[in-house]
């Protein structure tokens, strides 16, 4: 049976891992590689690297660290952040990434998803969605440029509409980042996940809010997501991946041996 995926996410800025990893300010290139290797060895099913320098700065970002990651891990990994063109994506895939994830640039230019899917196949194209629950309207809305607070804006898209749209355009996987939960470690927004699961024919990854092992279980068992992504609980050592796998197995979730 297809195993549910445990996915650590590493935020990268100027070639070093930043958020959540308390390596102080002398983080060097090696840190990305060391963390990637550690998570792969501990049994992560895949890794996501989110380059947070990217979308907010309008410059070409050095992605050579992608190649270094590819050299040391033998599990799949996805690179997100600042991919605005087929050429950007090609460079990252040639460095050895398996998937590329687009978020803000896809909102600015939805046809980008189609061009990427046509060129590299839908299996390469992940769409990241930053979803925000607005109490006044009682709806989930998609936000753009969340990497830079001064530029963050609410789009015209409700999350269910955008989820439907990106699938039509060729997204092969959706990472739903639930912003109200992000960093809170109170668990994923299961109501939202269930709503989106019902609309999502491609693999769905939960992101934002994981703080305990039960949260992963609930994401998989209650919302039937294909993967659960988390950052700080892994970086801060609050959850150890081998323990999480053992726990999920006991809870009846199919995980890789």
């Amino acid at each position: 049976m297809l195993a549910k995926r445990i996915i650590p996410c590493l935020d990268v800025k100027n070639g070093v891992v930043v958020k959540g990893v308390q390596f102080r300010n002398h983080e060097i290139m090696g840190d990305i590689v060391d963390l990637a290797r550690r998570y792969a060895e501990e049994g992560a099913d895949e890794l996501v690297f989110y380059d947070i320098t990217a979308s907010s700065d309008a410059r070409v970002v050095d992605k050579s660290w992608v190649r270094k990651v590819a050299e040391v891990i033998d599990i799949p990994f996805c690179v997100a952040g600042g991919i605005k063109s087929v050429e950007d994506a090609r460079r990252i895939l040639e460095f050895g990434a398996d998937k590329i994830s687009v978020n803000s640039p896809a909102l600015a230019d939805p046809d980008l998803i189609t061009r990427l899917a046509d060129k590299f196949g839908v299996q390469c194209v992940v769409c990241g969605i930053d979803s925000y629950f607005d109490r006044e309207t009682g709806k989930y809305w998609v936000k753009q440029y969340t990497g830079d607070e001064s530029r963050t804006l609410v789009t015209k898209w409700t999350t269910p509409e955008w989820v439907t749209e990106v699938q039509k355009r060729g997204a092969g996987e959706i990472v739903l980042n639930m912003m109200n939960q992000d960093g809170m470690r109170n668990g994923y927004d299961l109501e939202q996940l269930k709503l989106i699961r019902g609309l999502c024919r491609v693999p769905l990854i939960a992101s934002g809010g994981a703080g305990a092992m039960e949260h992963f279980r609930d994401g998989f068992k209650i919302a039937n997501t294909d993967g659960c992504l988390a950052a700080s609980v892994f970086h801060k050592g609050l959850i150890h991946i081998p323990d999480l796998r053992e726990y999920l197995r006991k809870e009846g979730v199919t995980v890789r041996d």
């Binding site: 297809l2 799949p76 050895g96 890789r256």
Partner: protein, 206 residues
């Protein structure tokens, strides 16, 4: 193995890097090529592929590769789309008006490739899934039955006379195929951790 000549056939896909890295970790020194002499003289060949069957077959033809590949007698390993290209034909070819027109493949194994019927399960079939052996092969040496490998695909080859192993996702499909010197895996051994490395190593030691 160190003296073996390993050639990765350049099918134009963007992610040849991972295959090359995985082979290097096993002590091999692969070259990426479309050159006839390099391909003929290789001891082992890898046929990778990502994208669509129609685009990949078109590219092989542009590079005059189909007849050359068919004439090879040394072990060849097709990976993912590279495995699907070993089959008779693939439905993965959208015509101008959006209808699916089967594209002829290399015809080296007796399977045909079509869109997976998964019912309510998400597509693409993406992630780690179990591979069950249906026929003994040295390719599976020291690999426990039902081991997990990494898959990412929407089209799959039916179970056929040349199937070595199957995976079930909605329905059973060919996960590993072999006829004579031609081998193929639907999953990505180069992305399947230690167990994937073992399979690649077995291929190099056939």
């Amino acid at each position: 193995m160190q003296n073996q000549k390993i050639t990765v056939i350049d099918t134009g896909s963007a992610n040849l890097t991972s295959v090359v890295i995985a082979l290097r970790h096993l002590g091999a020194d692969p070259v990426i090529s479309t050159d006839e002499k390099t391909i003929r003289e290789a001891d082992r060949l890898i046929l990778p592929g990502v994208g669509t069957a129609s685009a990949a077959m078109k590219l092989l033809k542009e590079r005059n590769l189909p007849d050359l590949v068919k004439s090879l007698t040394q072990p060849v390993l097709g990976i993912c789309l590279g495995m699907q290209m070993l089959g008779l034909e693939s439905q993965e070819n959208m015509g101008e008006s959006g209808e699916s027109v089967p594209v002829s493949c290399l015809g080296l194994v007796n399977g045909t490739v079509s869109l997976m019927k998964t019912g309510d399960l998400p597509l693409p079939h993406m992630g780690w899934d179990q591979v069950s052996c249906v026929r003994e092969s040295p390719l599976f040496k020291d690999i426990p039955d039902n081991s997990y490998f990494y898959f990412v695909h929407s089209y799959a080859m039916n179970v056929c006379a040349d199937t070595l192993a199957v995976t079930e996702y909605g329905e059973k499909f060919t996960a590993v195929v072999q006829k004579d010197n031609f081998f193929g895996t639907q999953f990505h051994p180069e992305k399947s951790g230690r167990i994937g490395a073992r399979l690649l190593n077995n291929f190099l030691n056939l």
